[in-house]
Each structure stands twice: as C-alpha cells, then as structure tokens.
C-alpha cells in the first residue's frame, strides 16, 4: 500500500535521510526507532507531505505524494509529535472541525466523530474544553483526529511519548483496532512496548536504515537484544549531500 522508494532529504548542507526504501502493506504496523536526531520525525513529515524530499518517491496505493498531493493526503491520518490542538474548542467540536476539514460528507460527520470518540475512549469527555485536558488526553484527542476518517495510512510521530502506562495501553488498543484497515508507521523510543503490537521494526541510524526486522522472525528477547546492540553502537555520521 505505502511504497517509499530511495528517499533522500537534507536541511541545507546537512543530510538528514539517505536512500530510505521500504513498503508497508495493509494491516502492517511498522515501528520506526533510533537515537534522537536519527531522522524519524523527518521521515514521518515527508510521508505526511509536510516536507518535500530531495529525491525519491512516496506512493500510497499508487498515488504519488508530490504529483497528486491532495489525493494522497486524503488517504493519511497524521499525529504530530507535540499534539497541537485548538485549546478553545471542546473535544467534540475539534474532531468535528477536523473531520469536516478532511472533506468528509456532511451526513457522515456526526457518525465519524461518535465512532472516533468511542474508539479513542473519549466518549465521556466529548464536551470538555481541550485546554483542560492532561497531556495524555490531548494525545488521545490527536490520535482520534488521525483515526477519524478511516485513513489508509496512519503516521504517528512519537505516539507513546510522555504517556503513563494506562494511557499507553489505551492508545495501543486504539491503534491495533485501526490497523485492521490501514498501514501504520509509528515512531518512538519505547521499543519494548511497540514490540507488543508492531509487525516490523525499522532502526534508523544517521539517516539510514540500519535494520528492518520482521517481528515474527525473532524471539522477542533476541529482537530486543539486536535493536539494543544497534542503538548502543557508535552513531553513523550524517554526511553532506553529494
């Protein structure tokens, strides 16, 4: 479903991503991990059309992200690293606004919002002002936003960061439920927990794919040890663009 082909990206003279190639099938959850500055957020931003790669292509069901950006973006749900929200709105107002902005038909908006509130465990908080929510609940509202229009590709940047254990479990449950009909790319450092539900793990190092493991091919302890070894080694230097 998602095909990423030889992506390269630089900020000025500093190369951030080099020759990233992978694909994600429907129903797959790919966890992207790596040290700080490895390029995880940049990769997700390119997949979300927030940055344009210097070279390479991104396609979702054959739709090129650069050639047909609006159609491509119609198929994605994106959760930003810092979960920005409009604090003056209630949870339901915000989700309604976002669902309408994503072009959902008027008749379906209310149903989509109700579904999303239920999946994300926010039904009891629908009329709470966002400014009154804790960080964990703000993250859940952001996740609900990403899930709201049944996207074919979910891009979740640092989904579990700053959440307590119950919130992490709730987010993971919502994500697993959504993954039955979507491809998922999720970044983070909480690899132990992501191994509970991801199907593949990508380790980024210095802007390159250091390893891409299929979770089912390894015993969990062995996979964790391999990832730890990769993350413990000396970081690859980021090179200047050619």
């Amino acid at each position: 479903m998602l095909d990423v082909d030889h992506i390269t990206f630089s900020y000025g003279a500093r190369r951030i991503l080099t020759d990233i190639t992978f694909d994600v099938a429907p129903g797959e959850i790919i966890a992207v991990t790596g040290r700080n500055g490895a390029g995880k957020t940049t990769l997700v931003k390119i997949l979300a059309c927030l940055l344009m790669q210097d070279a390479g292509t991104v396609r979702l069901q054959g739709i090129d992200a650069l050639r047909r950006p609006v159609k491509y973006r119609r198929g994605i749900g994106y959760l930003s690293e810092h979960s920005p929200l409009y604090s003056d709105m209630t949870v339901e107002e915000y989700l309604t606004y976002r669902v309408r902005l994503k072009g959902e038909r008027a008749l379906r908006v209310r149903r989509r919002v109700s579904e999303t509130l239920a999946i994300s465990g926010l039904s009891g908080m629908h009329d709470t002002r966002i400014r009154l929510l804790s960080h964990g609940y703000r993250k859940r509202v952001s996740l609900a936003d990403a899930l709201s229009t049944h996207p074919r590709l979910l891009l979740l940047d640092d989904l579990l960061a700053g959440l307590d254990r119950p919130q992490r479990k709730a987010c993971a449950a919502a994500l697993v439920a959504a993954s039955s009909r979507a491809s998922v790319v999720v970044t983070g450092h909480e690899i132990d927990e992501m191994l509970d539900w991801c199907t593949r793990v990508m380790v980024l190092d210095g802007g390159r794919i250091a390893a891409l493991f299929r979770a089912s091919d390894f015993e969990r302890a062995e996979l964790t040890a391999r990832i730890d070894r990769l993350l413990a080694g000396p970081p690859s230097g980021q090179e200047a663009p050619a």
Binding site: Y11, K45, A48, C49, L50, L51, M52, V70, K71, R73, R74, I76, Y78, S80, H82, P84, L85, Y86, D88, M89, Y97, R98, R100, L101, K102, G103, D145
Partner: protein, 247 residues
C-alpha cells in the same frame, strides 16, 4: 469551497474569543470616532458629504486594524504547531489562505458596519444642517472602496503572517508594508520623477475614498486593488508551499 468555509468558520470562532480581535476593533472604533468628529468640525459649512466624512475618517486606520487582525492567522498556527495538521489535511494551500483571508475581511466588514453607528449617533447632536440623509448608494459606494482597500491590507497581512511565528513581529511587519509602503512609493515617484506628478495624482488612497464616495468610480482603481489583493494571496499560498521545502 467546503474547505474554505470550514476554515472561515473556525477563524470567525477564534476571532470571537480572541483578545487580538475585540481590543483592536474597539480601538479602531474609538480613533475613527474621534477622527470623524474632528473631520466634521474642520469641514463645517463645506460641501463634504456625510459618506465622504465617514470614508475619510475610517480609511487611514484600516491598515492598522488589518495588520493586527491578520497577525495571528498563520503566525499562531506556526507557533503552536497546528500548521502541520493543516498542511497534512487534504486541502489546497489556496483554500487555507482564502478561508483565513475571508475571516479577517468578515471582521472588517462588521467593524465598518458598526462604524456607521457613529454618524447616526453623533450627527443629531453636532451638526443639524448636515442631517440630510446620505443615499444608500453613496454609502454602499464608500463601503465598497473601504472594503477594497481593506482587502489589500488583509491580503498583505495574511501573507506576512506566514513568515513569522511571533505575532507581534508579523503585526509590525504588516504595518510597515501596509502603512509605509504606499506612502513611500508615492513619495519616491514624486521626488525622483516629478514629471509624473499628473499621472500619479490618482494614487493617494484617500483620494480614491473621496472619489468613490462622491460617485466618481474608476475601473483602474478597482483593478489596482483587486490585482494587489490577488498578488498578495497568491504569494501567501506560494509561501505556504515553500514551507514544505524548508520545513
């Protein structure tokens, strides 16, 4: 079209609760009211009509109001990170820009509507001979030129707010562009090419307001304002697209 409407509604809601809307509108009405009274007193007995006084009193303050209203449109989204969510939504940059631009224009239109209350409330007490009611067409023509001018200031302010994360910086930059630039261009033309004085005599903005308020329509003036508005809006959507390149 639907995306424009959704963004417009969101922005109107944000304006309704924003300190950056209520205070500037109140300040605009106060300084405009003072200007109106002063203009009325200074021109007592002259042939200046009431709609002209209204237009000439409101027009000088519109760039400031526009700069303050538009400063938050994109600067706030960039500061909070909401710009990422807007840019990842399946909408064109053009729709995003238009939704925000129309919201600022709506606030300005309402403010101009409110400013009409000043002559209605003050005239009976100040100047009975001027009470002869202005025709609806004359008021509409004055409102039209004021809105045309405001559209340029709002489009420029919207474009400038894309460049900043800090709202104050966006407002100051908009003020410089909206207030100083037209005056500077006019002054530069007159000082460097005095022979063009006759050709550019139509450029001062208050002249346009006076002409329209007295029924002297000019297609060239309308085209100038529409072109300037479209230019700034186009530049704004291109700047947004550029954000995808630079991050």
């Amino acid at each position: 079209m639907k995306a424009i409407q959704v963004i417009w509604l969101r922005e109107i809601r944000a304006f309704r609760g924003a300190f950056s809307c209520g205070v500037p509108v109140a300040a605009f009405l106060a300084v405009y009211g003072w200007t109106f009274v002063m203009t009325l007193r200074n021109n007592e007995g002259s042939v200046l009509q009431i709609q002209s006084i209204w237009g000439l009193s409101a027009a000088p303050w519109l760039p400031i109001l526009s700069a303050v209203l538009t400063m938050r449109l994109f600067a706030e989204e960039r500061a909070t990170g909401m710009i990422d969510l807007l840019m990842s939504a399946p909408i064109r940059e053009r729709d995003l820009v238009l939704g925000k631009f129309f919201s600022a224009m709506t606030v300005i239109a309402v403010t101009l509507g409110l400013s009409l209350l000043v002559p209605m409330l003050l005239l009976p007490a100040l100047s009975a001979p001027l009470l002869a009611p202005a025709s609806a067409a004359a008021i509409a023509a004055t409102a039209f030129i004021l809105l045309l001018q405001a559209s340029v200031w709002c489009a420029a302010g919207t474009m400038i707010s894309v460049l900043f994360r800090n709202q104050a910086a966006a407002a100051v930059s908009s003020l410089i562009v909206c207030s100083a630039l037209p005056v500077a261009v006019y002054a530069a033309i007159l000082s460097w090419m005095p022979g063009l004085r006759a050709q550019v005599a139509w450029m001062p903005l208050l002249v346009h307001v006076y002409d329209f308020s007295t029924g002297l329509f000019s297609t060239a003036v309308i085209a100038l304002y529409v072109a300037a508005t479209l230019f700034f809006l186009f530049a704004c959507s291109k700047l947004l697209a550029l954000l995808r390149l630079r991050g």
